[in-house]
């Protein structure tokens, strides 16, 4: 039945558009912005805050990132944190990880219930888009599986200066299409009740972006 449905639909489509000409696509929109690295970081921070993400500036080196992460975890009173392997090795091997906060490394076997029992997640990012205030995760060794950055209630995301682009157009040309991607602009939100924006529904209710640059 499906085979014949396929043939029938395709032949109806062919008949319907027979003779239709495909127009050339005018791509006169902006492809990049003129801005220095620090201007891009500033714009990104502004746009992220506008949608209620917390932004923490850090120097762009592993030791500084590890220290700020440790401070964040302890200051917020978190008891456990999950992270992809690369992140755990680079940024969570220090004192905070060893003492007050339990570090769970995702080896791919954690169940959704396991993740639900963890207070927070730390990830890196594939890139970030300044103008729209977006962080993109693409499932690499720093971003981890999609479920890991989704189920815990607090997401700490480390973005490095060189990962920040100006426009969505630049992001699309840098990203690998077939990698599983999540574009994140602030914590989860809804406008379903009288168009009033409420932050924090099913995804992490708190998003903290560590801007390293």
């Amino acid at each position: 039945m499906t085979g014949s449905a396929r043939e029938e639909i395709l032949s109806r489509v062919r008949a319907a558009v027979a003779g239709a000409e495909a127009p050339a696509v005018p791509r006169g929109y902006r492809r990049e912005v003129e801005a220095s690295a620090s201007q891009l970081l500033e714009l990104l921070a502004d746009r992220l805050r506008d949608y209620r993400a917390e932004v923490v500036p850090v120097p762009d080196d592993d030791a500084a990132i590890a220290q700020v992460l440790a401070d964040q975890l302890t200051e917020r009173g978190l008891r456990s944190v999950v992270a992809p392997q690369a992140v755990a090795r680079a940024w969570l091997a220090g004192p905070a990880g060893g003492e007050a906060v339990q570090v769970v490394v995702d080896d791919g076997t954690l169940t959704w219930q396991d993740l639900d029992g963890v207070d927070a997640v730390v990830t890196g990012a594939a890139l970030a888009i300044a103008e729209t205030g977006v962080v993109v995760l693409d499932g690499d060794a720093w971003c981890g599986r999609r479920a890991v950055s989704l189920v815990p209630d607090l997401h700490l995301c480390v973005v490095r200066g060189r990962q920040v682009v100006g426009l969505p157009t630049e992001a699309v040309s840098r990203l690998q299409p077939t990698r599983p991607q999540t574009w994140i602009a602030g914590p989860s939100a809804t406008s379903d009740i009288e168009l009033d924006r409420v932050e924090g529904v099913h995804g992490p209710r708190t998003l903290v972006v560590l801007l390293a640059g």
Binding site: M1, T2, R6, E8, I9, L10, S11, R12, V13, A16, V17, A20, P23, V25, P26, R27, G28, Y29, R47, D50, Y51, G108, Q113, E131, T132, G133, V134, G139, D140, A141, R145, R146, L150, V151, P168, V172, S173, P177, T178, P180, Q181, T182, W183, A185, G186, P187, S188, A189, T190, S191, D192, I193, E194, L195, V198, G200, V201, H202, G203, P204
Partner: protein, 509 residues
């Protein structure tokens, strides 16, 4: 089989029974009930006003908005022209990435495919991401009849589902409810809800989070639609805000996506246009909180991410008929942003339910009747008239669909279809034929318009008096009838020319 479009009206719906794209009552009848509901009008007026301002503000930020719109319109036109090859390319790439592609000619076929896929997993409960395509085919109702519970997880869809109501807006389906009403719905219908729940939106959203959390974690089957499907890579995209989409697309082992054949985009690069156009047009945000992009199954992804089984159901359900119409075709360019609803003076006053279809507002007024077929006597024939043709919808459409022109074209098609459907000409057809006869000849036109002033005594305060009032009552119920002037323009012009001519003879240079 006959695939060629012959321009003949064709009914694609059974005479009776429920259809998600066609209501039971014609628009004017349904609208008059909505117009007399002051709570509804207040809810709608507030919500559409808020979102109009937000959209205008974020669209105004972009110096290249018009260039993005032009690109979006051209990509969609290209997509339609190349649809056969793009669909085959999409199928090949989804299959190569471990997915299975199914084709459904109509709602019944799509529902049967999805039901069989759910049955094969042995599950009786599925979680759903908000999707217009699955609403259009009435999937939830069908699954319920087959003993499968489909749980809507978008907050507004959940509200509507718990209220046993229908969505009234493409983007914010519970726009017709106030927070107080939503609080009542939750208090009465949501299992395990806190009895002290208040009507504060944050508290209501948290109640939905608590209710759905455990259900997300245990769900084995997720059902979604898709905003875009990239032919070049086999990548699907869902754009959302709450994270319920991420939950449904990430956690269940089996993912089934029902997608209209027009949702395909040729290239990966095209996302750079649509991921700018859609969020700003729909929620009035620079970017929506969450966008998920996935290609096939876990096996195709490094690091074992993604569903174990992925099924893509490509849906026709009347789309190929719309596609065959050169004027109406561009209704398929719609990316379901709902900007046209929010600016429409008719939608703002009548609400989504008046349109009787899951596609309300201006886009619904051109899409619904084309999907069901203009027959001359169907309920959806009334939708192209649900517009003042003010053009606000065209101005905000991110892919520049010329909705007013399509409305006018559909009105003409309805008149033709009505004439074919009925041997006895309607009063309107007789009047139009008479008008055509008069207007074709200058002398006849002058004679008739010159005598119109004789009708002046029949009018008072915009209302017809005397014998005509009973004949014209349908037309004049909602309109003031202008009184004909004492003198026609032509009469005034000829006096003026005579007078001016005399003046220039006297005082000219």
């Amino acid at each position: 089989m006959s695939a060629a479009f012959l321009g003949m009206p064709r009914r694609r719906l059974p005479e009776t029974g429920f259809s998600p794209v066609q209501g039971k009552r014609p628009f004017p009848e349904a609208a008059s009930a909505a117009l007399s509901d002051p709570v509804l009008r207040r809810n709608l007026g507030h919500a559409t006003g808020v979102i109009r301002r937000k959209r205008a503000s974020v669209v105004g930020e972009l110096p290249d908005w018009e260039e993005l719109r032009s690109a979006g319109a051209a990509i969609k036109a290209e997509t339609m022209a190349r649809l056969p090859e793009l669909l085959e390319q999409l199928e090949a790439n989804v299959t190569a990435a471990g997915g299975v592609v199914h084709w459904a000619r109509d709602a019944a076929e799509a529902n049967a495919i999805v039901t069989d896929l759910v049955r094969a997993t042995g599950e009786r409960e599925v979680v759903k991401v908000k999707s217009m395509a699955t609403q259009e085919i009435g999937l939830n109702e069908h699954l319920a009849a087959e003993g499968i519970t489909a749980l809507e997880t978008d907050l507004a869809e959940l509200i509507v589902q718990l209220a046993e109501d229908h969505p009234s807006h493409i983007l914010v389906p519970a726009i017709h409810f106030s927070r107080t009403e939503i609080r009542e719905i939750f208090a009465r219908r949501m299992p395990g809800v806190d009895p002290d729940l208040t009507s504060e939106p944050r508290r209501l959203a948290m109640a939905a989070r608590a209710f759905l959390r455990e259900r997300f974690l245990r769900a084995k089957v997720g059902i979604s639609g898709a905003n875009f499907a990239i032919a070049e890579t086999g990548t699907l995209t869902v754009v959302e805000s709450e994270g319920n989409g991420r939950m449904c697309l990430t956690l269940p082992e089996t993912l089934i996506s029902v997608v209209g054949i027009e949702k395909v985009l040729p290239r990966w690069q095209d996302l750079e246009v649509f991921l700018q156009l859609l969020p700003r047009s729909s929620t009035g945000e620079r970017m929506n909180p969450y966008t998920t992009l996935w290609t096939g199954t876990r096996a195709a992804h490094e690091g074992g991410d993604g569903p174990r089984a992925f099924h893509l159901v490509l849906l026709d359900n009347g789309r190929t008929d719309v596609l065959a119409d050169e004027v109406g075709r561009s209704a398929l360019h719609c990316i379901r942003c709902s900007a046209c609803l929010n600016v429409c003076p008719v939608y703002e006053r009548t609400g989504g339910h008046s349109y009787g279809s899951v596609y309300p507002g201006p886009i619904g007024a051109i899409l619904s009747p084309q999907l069901t077929g203009i027959t001359g006597d169907s309920v959806n024939d009334s939708l192209p008239y649900a517009s003042s043709l003010c053009g606000a919808c065209y101005d905000v459409c991110p892919v520049k669909i010329d909705i007013p022109s399509i409305l006018v074209d559909l009105r003409a098609r309805h008149v033709e279809a009505a004439q074919q459907a009925s041997r006895v000409p309607s009063a309107e057809a007789v009047a139009m034929a008479a008008a055509a006869y008069v207007m074709k000849d200058e002398k006849r036109f002058a004679a008739v318009t010159g005598s119109m002033r004789l009708g002046r005594p029949l009018l008072r305060d915009g209302q017809l008096r005397g014998p005509l009032s009973s004949v014209m009552t349908g037309w004049s119920r909602a309109r003031d009838v202008p009184a004909p002037p004492r003198e026609t323009f032509r009469q005034w012009w000829s006096h003026r020319e005579r007078h001016d001519g005399a003046a220039s003879e006297r005082g000219g240079p």
